[in-house]
Symmetry: C2
Subunit: 239 residues, 2 copies
């Protein structure tokens, strides 16, 4: 059940059997969530950290006027709130965008990992660093990319991340978000989100029907997005 986590960590550096066992031992419980439920509640101080093993989730914050902004997607294998292990208080919520299955990792056991397994600790740390790199890319997209380029970039990113954990089928992947939710990802109004999607469809770089996104022309999409996967740090090397 922890396969996706192994796949992600392995992508950065080799994972020993001992390390796998240690990770498995950190897990104390399994839990399922419905669409729309919070995996982690903003403001809470969790005693467990959550590994997403199935489904799609997202980090978000809500403003006083009710506006919501997603700040990241979480795919299977993501340690979605490893942050809380050290930050203690969650500064944001994490919501299920599709039915989700998670594994809960005990903070006391995670602490023991940091005491006894430096290499594994570095790999977990790295995981949170990649999160940060993704955030930076989102900031650039929101600030300086056209809406179409922003959307194209998100699709490239998701495709690559999902491929690592074997959640793609050919050039397609399941994408359960409504356009209204997508608007909260890109910081647009629903109406305008719709027009941007229409625009990207017209380029014939993607199709997006039935909660499935298919990349029809990767090169064209990547060009529109100016997508450079360096930030995802997808090389296996000693860390």
């Amino acid at each position: 059940m922890l396969e996706p986590l192994y796949l992600q960590l392995q992508q950065h550096d080799a994972l020993s059997d001992d390390e796998r066992a240690m990770l498995a031992d950190v897990i104390v419980r399994e839990k399922d969530f419905e669409v729309g439920q919070d995996l982690v509640v903003a403001g809470s101080r969790p005693a467990y950290s959550t590994v997403l093993v199935e489904g799609l989730a997202a980090r978000y914050k809500v403003l006083q006027n009710g506006g919501r902004q997603f700040t990241a997607f979480q795919v299977p294998g993501d340690f979605v709130d490893l942050h809380a292990f050290l930050l203690k208080t969650m500064d944001h919520g994490i919501v299920a965008l599709s039915p989700c299955r998670v594994m809960l990792a005990d903070h006391a056991k995670l602490r023991a990992v940091t005491e006894q397994a430096p290499h594994l600790t570095r790999l977990l740390w790295l995981d949170t660093l990649v999160d940060g790199a993704i955030h930076r890319e989102w900031i650039v997209a929101m600030g300086r990319r056209s809406s179409a380029s922003h959307l194209a970039h998100l699709i490239c990113e998701l495709y690559v991340r999902l491929q690592v954990v074997k959640q793609t089928e050919g050039m397609s992947f399941r994408f359960p978000l409504s356009q209204a939710e997508m608007a909260d990802v890109m910081g647009l109004s629903v109406v305008h989100m719709n027009r941007v999607i229409a625009e990207l469809r017209k380029t014939e770089a993607i199709s997006w029907v039935n909660h499935t996104i298919s990349i029809l022309d990767w090169d064209r999409l990547a060009a529109i997005a100016e997508f450079d996967p360096t930030y995802l740090s997808m090389t296996t090397e000693p860390r």
Copy 2:
């Protein structure tokens, strides 16, 4: 010279003398930079990580059309590219916004810290997690805040961060950026940046003259910004 780093780490949890000594030992060299120079070059694979000890710097990315987007400010005490220790390749550049002095930390020695000093490792990790939390707040600001609120939020954040490392004077702090650079922070055109600044000035919550920002009315500014410092994780507790 490492005082600002100690101040920042201490803010999250107590730092022992041993840990201070270990940090001091990690430093192998000191270096100065002029305004506009890159402290760290995008795409490089540094063998050292950089602690900023004096000055203001910023992370940035550049797009094909020449557009630049800053993704974070770095203040004294920030381990500006601790990322590179594990990410290996820098996915973005870091530029000096004022004359900067930095200390270089050897990656091999940092690795030794992760092998021998788990608590210190957790504190350094935490530092990068706070970076991530700041990124999330920036995404929210870019996506769902009004420009005036966004600007107000940036000022609140900077004030609080600078206060931790004793770089404020009363309710004022030095802020060397031009409006053009500020436009690259907020993802706006220079002209519009100017108008947003004028708008915020008119509220009389701040003054901004002569490269110095003064907060005239914190409560009003924080209200405009909807500023909640939780995300900066400024509580001292066992980590």
